[in-house]
């Protein structure tokens, strides 16, 4: 064996950096998926049970009691709530992604952002698994799947991923410095849900406030999801604004993370 071969055999992380990172994410993700419902009887059904339970609650309150004037309100809700849950669960979980792995962060040098990435992907998997439920509601209400979904759904997943991952990275990083964030994040995402047209339609917002839609990436994302599911169509300016926010937030998250990651081992 030549000296070079020996060196290569010894340092896979140096010679296969990408393969190694991909494997690390896959294994961490596999762990999360295996662990989440380990020991439960219903297992995977739980990932659909949560958003469905929320749907039921909001349906009762806003349809049967408050009488929101929206047709097919159950379908309307699942189209907004399911993608919203991905966002909310990731952000709320983000404060824990790093702290839960403190022993590793203190000892092993590996890209810490992969821990956050894994958390976001984990919630994404659960969202994707719940898309058939949305489709079932759609078909039941007389709609049907569109061929354009083949590119629209992946595109929206990427856009929402940018927003979710960027914010999760920000929250996970900042929480190491300011632990109050753990408490604050839950409150903020809850308020965020109510200022985003998830439970109500954009058209119901008073005219004077409608411009705020452009400041709320999730309002744009949720509106796009609904449009895709019901019409198989995207409004270019809404999708473009959402994509712009997504890119901006993802880059911001990366910058803050890069700037501070060197101190993580001291703080967890």
């Amino acid at each position: 064996m030549r000296a070079g071969d020996e060196l290569r055999a010894r340092t896979p992380a140096a010679t296969h950096p990408l393969q190694q990172r991909v494997d690390l994410v896959l294994v961490l993700l596999g762990k999360e998926l295996k662990v989440r419902y380990k020991g439960t009887v219903l297992g995977y059904a739980w990932s659909i049970a949560y958003p469905l339970a929320f749907t039921l609650v909001f349906y009762l309150v806003f349809r049967l009691i408050a009488r929101v004037p929206i047709e097919n309100y159950a379908l309307f809700l699942v189209m907004g709530l399911f993608p919203w849950q991905w966002f909310q669960n990731s952000i709320n979980g983000a404060t824990g992604f790093l702290l839960a792995n403190a022993p590793l962060i203190k000892k092993v040098s590996f890209p810490r952002s992969l821990l956050v990435l894994t958390g976001v992907l984990n919630d994404l998997v659960h969202f994707v698994a719940s898309i058939p439920v949305i489709v079932a509601f759609l078909v039941w209400s007389g709609g049907r799947p569109a061929g354009a979904w083949l590119w629209q759904i992946p595109l929206l997943v990427v856009i929402e991923f940018g927003v979710t991952y960027g914010l999760s990275l920000l929250v996970a990083t900042a929480n190491l410095f300011v632990r109050d964030l753990e408490r604050l994040v839950g409150i903020v995402t809850m308020l965020w849900l109510y200022v985003t047209p998830v439970l109500y339609a954009w058209e119901m917002v008073p005219e004077a406030l409608r411009w705020t839609r452009w400041l709320n990436p999730m309002a744009l994302v949720i509106a796009s999801w609904r449009q895709v599911f019901t019409e198989g169509r995207l409004t270019p300016e809404i999708a473009a604004a959402a994509a712009g926010w997504s890119l901006l937030i993802a880059v911001l998250g990366q910058l803050v993370y890069r700037r501070l990651e060197g101190r993580f081992a001291e703080l967890v």
Binding site: A9, R10, T11, P12, A13, A14, H16, Q19, Q20, D23, L24, L26, V27, L28, K31, K34, V35, K38, G39, P103, L104, I105, K106, K107, V108, S109, F110, A174, F177, V178, R179, D180, V256, R259, G262, R263, F264, A265, E266
Partner: protein, 244 residues
């Protein structure tokens, strides 16, 4: 491995009231505050070199900066000033079961720990049988790690760490777990690594072992390197200090 004039300060006290924005932008007000804030010097102006294949022990009282030094070598901490150069792949021996998930089986945890330590999945598969064999866990490997005793967990952790083909091994007092037979196998393994030219850095309070096994010892006291040289001499110097 070369450690040159390394100083490591930890900042004490919170930064929360300064606000995240100010911290990120390092406004003059914040800079002033950071300078005044209480700092703790874990290491002060430490320099040494460790040659390829050397077995070096860091000894010293608790709080003298030994583990901080290991963290710096592992690359998880960054020096406040000075530089650290390392060549080669580093395998830290993790504390008991760190990086294991209790609900996963031993086998699943081997893959998890292996990729965390820098292997690809294919490389873990290739080494899998050897890892299981060395751990001595046999059939137990398919049971969840939460059912393992602490000794079994330590054996599995050690087994993974020594099979990632490290060029530098960092050991922070983890050999004190496991039964006598396994402790001996661990030492044997470290000896064979040593024979194969792997660099080993241990932090240890087991002075007799240090004298018997290591090529060189470094004595850290209060964050400063006060002695370095043949283990017998450095250990003697340390004992003299304790007696004082």
């Amino acid at each position: 491995m070369r450690v040159e004039r390394v100083t490591k300060e930890f900042r004490l006290g919170g930064t929360a009231h300064l606000g995240l924005k100010n911290l990120l932008l390092r406004s003059p007000e914040v800079r002033h505050h950071l300078q005044r804030r209480v700092r703790f010097e874990a290491l002060r102006d430490v320099s040494f070199e460790i040659s390829h294949g050397e077995w070096v022990a860091m000894i010293g009282p608790n709080g003298s900066g030994k583990s901080t030094m290991l963290g710096l070598i592992a690359g998880v901490l960054h020096p406040t000033s000075g530089t650290i150069q390392t060549n080669g792949r580093i395998s830290p021996l993790l504390e008991l079961g760190a990086g294991f998930h209790p609900e996963l089986t031993g086998a699943e945890n081997i893959v998890l720990n292996g990729v965390i330590l820098g292997l690809t999945r294919a490389m873990v598969r290739e080494r899998f049988d050897r890892i299981v064999e060395f751990s001595g866990l046999g059939e137990e490997i398919d049971r969840p790690v939460r059912t393992y005793s602490s000794g079994m967990t330590a054996r599995l952790g050690f087994s993974v760490a020594v099979h990632v083909d490290p060029e530098i091994i960092l050991v922070d007092e983890v050999l004190a777990v496991g039964d006598e037979a396994f402790a001996r196998r661990c030492l044997d393994k470290l000896r064979s690594f040593h024979a194969a030219g792997v660099t080993i850095v241990v932090v240890s309070h087991a002075l007799t072992l240090v004298e018997a096994l290591c090529d060189r010892a470094l004595l850290l006291v209060g964050g400063e390197l006060v002695a370095a040289g043949p283990p017998a001499e450095v250990v003697a110097a340390y004992r003299a200090r304790i007696d004082d």
